[in-house]
Amino acid sequence: MTTINIGMAVVLAVLYSVGFYLLMQRSLMRILIGIVVLGHGANLLLQLAGGPPARAPVLGTAPPAEFADPLPQALALTAIVITFALTTYLLALGYRSWVLTGHDEVQDDLEDRRIALSERPDGAMEEDTEGADEDTEDPGSAAASNEPAEIATGGPDASSEVSR
């Protein structure tokens, strides 16, 4: 079993918490950076899984015990390539969202809003903190309006209705 030194453990904790914190933001740019930071955290953890840092690479001559384990390095390389490619894709998607909607915020879920609206006819959206699972337990919502265009989403994100 591989152990980890306290400094690296702290670095990992910071990377993971910053990553998850950024993931929960509304701006797609921040979410993207969150994914990048989280990816760094995961790759660093993968590196450390091979043993403590600063051991010799598998190259040249040295006793086998002094070599660094090459497998986690290979795994981390693969993972870096994959996260890199997907980050690029996400960036393109964010750009597309900006082109189509004029901003890069995560848009409101219309279905969720519609259910909230049918619960509160006055449209008091500010108190709406219910999760998306509420729509799974509310048969009454089936009778709600089917016209997304007529819903005033209110709140800070009213511009999500803006189409191209």
Binding site: M1, I35, S97, T136
Partner: protein, 505 residues
Amino acid sequence: MSTLVTLPVLLPILGAALSVIFVRQATLQRLIGIVVLVAVCVVAAVLLVAADRTGPVVVELGGWPAPVGIVLVADRLSALLLLISTVVTLAVLVYAIDQRISDYGRDTASTTFHPIFLLLSTGVSLAYLTGDLFSLFVAFEIMLAASYVLITRRTNAERIRSGMTYVIISLTSSLLFLTTIALVYASTGTVNLADLAGRVAALPPGLRTLLSMLTIVTFGIKAAMVPLHFWLPDSYPNAPAPVTALFAGLLTKVGIYALLRTQTLIFPGDGPSAVLLVLAVLTMVVGALGALAQNDLNRLLSFLLVSHIGFMLFGLAVDDARGAAGTALYIVHHITVQATLFLVSGLITRRTGTVSIDQMGGLARRSPVLAVLFAVPALTLAGIPPTSGFVAKLALLQAGAAGTVGTVVVAGFVVLASLLTLWAVVRVWIRVFWGADKEPLPDDDPHDELVIGTSKTSAPMYVASAALVAVSIAIAAAAGPLSAVTERAGADLIARVPYLEAVLG
């Protein structure tokens, strides 16, 4: 024989490359896709027979022996799921090709659709066959990266939101998977599944539970297990019908397969797992109730998909040979029927111009073929005898009844969720196929990818859907031999010995 195992991965990825090369020859591109998938079907069938007769077929990539190198393993479960997945992929491809022909004309080639479609198939095959935890991650990434492209093709303002949700959630679960792999490697020093089976057993119980729970969360997100299911009903319904059908049929089931493989091979429990039983009940009930609340046909089907993930979790939670066999049989049945329903939903939408159940009506008179194509898979999903759904549910119920008090109680929820499913599909039937005739709505956005509100539908689209209906009827007709195979597969999974011996020698 053993080199055959590489073909289900190699053929689609080479086919994808060829489709990029022949990007201007539309007919050739279509032919490549179909030929490749037919070939993979044949290989999968051969592998299934071989695995069933002589035990798992193993190939060591690059000639490196097992714990060091990467192995591909086709045991009964992998080969069976590979076969049924490829059959469904093939039917969906035929449907998609004909939808594209009738919408854009025969000469319109696609720069992305065919290559990406085959890449998705590569990822699915690799996920089923790999005997290595990190290759499983790579397989998931191939599959998911392809699915990101398919779900965000030709985005409009509405579709980009659901696409973003899907991509971000999947990426998060992939990073969690990477974290799991790192922790597994740090604690055992291997990523080979068969090698892990022995080494994880030697770990302290606390650490073992932590790793087991991490895999449940990781694959639970991919399989849309409640409470990790939010993304699914939000993102799937917005994609074009063939894409949704493919995702609904395969992607979540690959998650369930990964869960089944890792839980039985690496983290075998002693007796039913309480955590998984509770999750199975939640998934079944929340999904079914969610479906009852929906007015959008595709969202309704997505919630039913979530609900039926719970059935498969239940078989896994029972944690004996019968439970594993029930889950395997249920996956086979569910891949077919869920994909069929989404394809038929695509046909319905094309005809009526809407996904809103309120605005449909009297479709049975106007299109009796559509009514039959919907009724058979819908009843199959609900598990009415003598359909394949009934056979699969019976296997699960028998597994539950033979277990502890907990599993018997959860078996009751299986019956309840089946009834709720029946209620949901009967409601759709009454409102969409019976009742007053309603005129098709015109296409509100004629320039997007969805051509709706038209009766102009080419016959092969019906044929592809009907072929899948026929496959699910064939599953019911061949229930005897098929459940014999899944029972042997379930026994293998729990015994672990055939897999371990085949891989480690």
